[in-house]
């Protein structure tokens, strides 16, 4: 099973951790891999760390094997709370891992009421489900 960080959970008044998953490719074809975005942010200090990984296997049967070259560690630089939505901005500090055309700047939108997370996968924003 995939490592668990936990649900979108208030760990203190200002801190949140979350884990969200989407199968890729989306759409018509069966998913081959699971895109997992997880981490924690602190609203008060505007800090945190988010990881993005692509695990082999669809969400219903995902493995713990992360496809090489696709892991990203995002250092959170800004967190904005707008109603039930968190907008998280961050940076991938290790530029050597970035694909051609991939930005080091990352935006992650967590919609607590909808149970979704929106963030880019490769070059297009996709929707993940909060677990």
């Amino acid at each position: 099973m995939l490592p668990q960080v936990g649900l979108l959970t208030p760990t203190s008044k200002e801190a949140f951790t979350f884990r969200a998953v989407a199968g890729v490719p989306g759409g018509i074809l069966p998913s081959y891999a699971s895109y997992v975005v997880q981490g924690g942010v602190n609203l008060a200090t505007q800090t945190g760390v988010i990881t993005k990984n692509l695990f082999a296997g669809p969400p219903e049967a995902a493995s713990a094997f992360a496809l090489p070259g696709l892991a990203r560690i995002v250092r959170v630089t800004t967190v904005r709370e707008m109603g039930s939505t968190l907008e998280i901005l961050g940076t991938v500090d290790d530029a050597s891992v970035l694909l051609k055309g991939e930005s080091s700047k990352v935006q992650i939108k967590v919609d607590k009421s909808a149970g979704t997370v929106r963030t880019p996968f490769i070059d297009e924003e996709i929707e993940l489900k909060l677990e």
């Binding site: 890729v24 490719p25 989306g26 759409g27 018509i28 074809l29 069966p30 998913s31 081959y32 891999a33 692509l54 082999a56 296997g57 669809p58 969400p59 219903e60 049967a61 995902a62 493995s63 713990a64 094997f65 496809l67 090489p68 696709l70 694909l99 996968f121 490769i122 070059d123 297009e124």
Partner: protein, 316 residues
């Protein structure tokens, strides 16, 4: 992604990459139409460092089009002094059906190669190789995962990947008298005192493209002679999403199942007649599956294939 990273072992606690099939190939030996080359690769991205000594690796031959094996080449390994030695058996008729190590021994104590120099064993008209090699598969995996947004040129995810390969050179007479055969491969591992099929592959990417979720595991554990009854609906459903009519989708499904690679050993043609290392099977299948909407992933064959046995390129 031809069959990489789809085995149920992947999701088990063991995550045994050693029995995760990546590809298999069957083609007429270049320059010698009396022989065929059969290759089975496992261990995607060479995450594990050896073959599974408890497993049985099988290359299966159907000579009478009933989707059951009439001939089986059964390969197993033993850990010896930090290395591995292979035994290769040929089982025919009822013995080919068994999930066990029966059959006539063709190679015994054939050394496994862990370095760049392939050690080739010979026995009569047969040759055998097992060991670390360059993965011959080529595909823009990221573009596929990114919603099939292929570009030209694409980026070959597997260009520097390694696998563990098993290659057999066999006289065609060892494949039966009918040149029209079917070939597939499978891995068996011990479970509750018996051997269980944990992965199998016929044509490339059938499981990957058409099976959803946990059905991938069911497909891997199934026998080809049950494919039509069990999995036609899955294939038709995907094809219809790409604009095929029910009738067209059904006709295509009837070609794709059972999941067996058809091969005429009197022909040097490639895929769909067997499969050579350099055959661009993904381009062919993309065009087929997407109803001609997508015809290429923008990457081509590797340049590191060897011109002689074992044909698989030097590991990276």
């Amino acid at each position: 992604m031809a069959d990489h990273l789809d085995s149920p072992g992947l999701t088990s606690p063991g995550m045994d990459a050693r029995v995760d099939i990546t590809d298999h190939f069957a083609f007429q030996k270049p320059g010698d139409p009396s022989k065929s080359i059969l290759i089975m690769n496992v261990n995607p991205l060479a995450r594990a460092s050896a073959f599974n000594p408890d497993a049985i690796y099988e290359i299966l031959i159907d000579t009478d089009a009933d989707a059951l094996p009439n001939v089986a080449f059964k390969i197993n390994f033993a850990d010896v002094n930090g290395g591995q030695l292979a035994t290769v058996r040929r089982a025919a008729d009822s013995l080919a059906l068994g999930r066990d190590l029966t059959g006539d021994i063709i190679f015994q104590n054939a050394p496994v190669s862990f370095t760049s120099t392939p050690t080739i064993s010979e026995s009569g008209d047969f040759k055998f190789f097992a060991g670390l090699r360059s993965d011959p598969f080529f595909f823009d995996l990221l573009a596929f995962l990114n919603g099939l947004k292929f570009t030209t040129p694409g980026t070959d995810f597997f260009i520097k990947a390694n696998v563990f390969g098993m290659a057999l050179e066999v006289p065609n007479s060892a494949l039966g008298s009918n040149p029209e055969i079917g070939v597939w491969v499978r891995c068996l591992t011990p479970e509750n005192g018996d051997f269980t099929q944990v992965d199998r592959m016929g044509r490339p990417a059938i499981n990957t493209v058409f099976m959803h979720g946990k059905e991938k595991t069911m497909f891997n554990r199934a026998q080809p002679n049950t494919d039509v009854a069990r999995f036609t609906g899955d294939i038709v459903a995907v094809l219809e999403q790409f604009g095929y009519s029910s009738s067209q989708a059904g006709s295509l499904a009837a070609i794709l199942l059972p999941d067996i690679l058809t091969y005429n050993f009197n022909s040097s043609n490639g895929f769909l007649n067997g499969r050579r290392l350099f055959d661009d099977v993904i381009d062919i299948e993309l065009g087929l599956v997407t109803n001609g909407t997508i015809t290429t992933d923008g990457v081509g064959a590797h340049t590191d294939y060897l011109s002689d046995f074992p044909y698989l390129g030097t590991p990276h």
